[in-house]
Amino acid sequence: MGVRRVAIVGYAQTKHQWDMPKTREDMVFEVAKGAAEMAGVTREEIDTVINASSDYLDGRTISELFLTMPSGAYLKDYTKTEMDGAFAALYGVMKILAGTHDVALIVANTQGSTFNPHQVSYHMLDPTFDRQLKVLNDMAIAAIQARMYMDKYGVAEEEVAMVSVKNLWCAAKNPNAHRKMPGVTVEDVLGSKMLYEPIRELMMSPVSDGACAVVLASEEKARKLTDNPVWIEGVGSSQDFYVRDRNLQRLEALEKAARRAYRMAGIKDPFAEIDVAEVTERYAHEELMIYEALGFCEEGKARRLVDNYVTWLGGQMPVNPSGGALGADPITATGLIRIVEAAKQIRGEAGAYQVPEVRRALAHGQAGICAQSNIVFILGGEE
């Protein structure tokens, strides 16, 4: 990937929860400081700061206005990306690759309790038509997608519920996760509130408050800061057509994004060459579609990976050992958290949900309704 290499050298995240008893600014300060401390960099050594926050979700225009200070951006090069934080990480990577900056601090935050992200999804729709019909939002469309996928491949709702059980069981081991449901069963999931058939409450990510920060560094700087840098080996992103004109039955944009990331990282057989994946599954059925788009299995066969415990912690290809988005979903921070969780696996810091011997990890973030826009990172530890 060009002449320069970029590594993750520090990170921090909040304990994600509903209606956090902290202001947005305090939450951001906590993670910005935490990430810098872990990386061992002073505020002066940070060359550029990138916030990821959404005006709509934060309920304020120029949402980054009061966040520059707690992000440590005083008198620094600064910008804000207004979508999933994993895209902000991409921008940080680009600034370092450009040679103009050596250390980048990426901070993503959302307090979902401010303005329900599902309500916000309604505002993403075409205002001249779809919004005028007044019934649509991301839950309704995801439900339509779930029904289409399940009918096409004969997937039972128990199998979809298994994804929830897998992720929530892992989330219970994750001190930062929002949902803590240690003994959750398929029956619990199938007994949770029906929202838009077939989607029930426990098949959908929770509305969380949370923040996450990552310190990126150029190779030269990374080697001075740590013996255990996590290298960015590949990245790819792609946006799909708008919901009326895309194939809802497949995550085509994720497929493209993954292919680009694999090509950059030199990966030919993702299932064999990747040791763990942290993906953003806003809905349980979405995780099945994600396996297929990432090339872990053929189309329609994703449920086997869950049925046969392949993607469970302890399986051949653990997916979301942290609990994923079903465990905590502070929207704008979620993709950046996936990057952090993947990095933790590589560095052996994942505690109770550590996957043994991780050399290579995949992290995925998304934006828009039903993963319209996707970004995939391939991370690698030292050889």
Binding site: L133, A140, R147, Y196
Partner: protein, 156 residues
């Protein structure tokens, strides 16, 4: 033009945020035609992809789509997917239970390639099936606005 409900802030600051979006030329034709109980599609002159509602640029091949490329559709189509809603959002972020479940369908109109997402009426939730034929149900008095489409219903 299309309207959005005004969200009133619950504070002493007398603000409300309302929007009134201009829809553009091809969409104006579409909306006016609803008054005549017609559903128009926009067919790309180069690749033939037909959009509902119509748009002035093809997303697949980048050609411009003009008013003369608008084509009248039958208003009938296939239900390619659906969900049964038991809740709704109240506009300010709360999930509220619906008194009656509502069927929301993904419909592919005959002669068009886009999928539209519309409420489905005059059908019991347990009788809805993917692959069903559906057709538009018009408002009694059409006025040349989006609300003229009441919902879609099983085709006779």
């Amino acid at each position: 033009m299309s309207e959005e409900e005004i969200v009133r802030a619950k504070s002493p600051i007398p603000f409300s945020a309302g929007f009134r979006w201009s829809v553009g030329e091809v969409m104006e034709h579409f909306i006016k035609s609803l008054g005549e109980r017609k559903i128009l599609g926009g067919k790309c002159p180069r690749c033939g992809y037909t959009y509902v509602p119509p748009r002035n640029r093809c997303g697949k091949c980048y050609s411009e789509i003009k008013p003369e490329n608008l084509t009248e559709l039958s208003g009938k189509g296939v239900l390619v997917g659906y969900t049964i809603a038991h809740v709704e959002l109240d506009g300010v972020g709360n999930i509220k239970d619906l008194e009656e479940p509502l069927v929301i369908g993904a419909v592919k109109l005959d002669g068009a390639d886009s999928t539209i997402f519309v409420p489905i009426g005059e059908v019991k939730p347990e009788e809805v099936k993917s692959g069903m034929r559906v057709e538009v149900a018009w408002r009694e008095e059409t006025e040349g606005e989006i609300g003229d489409i009441k919902y879609f219903k099983p085709a006779g």
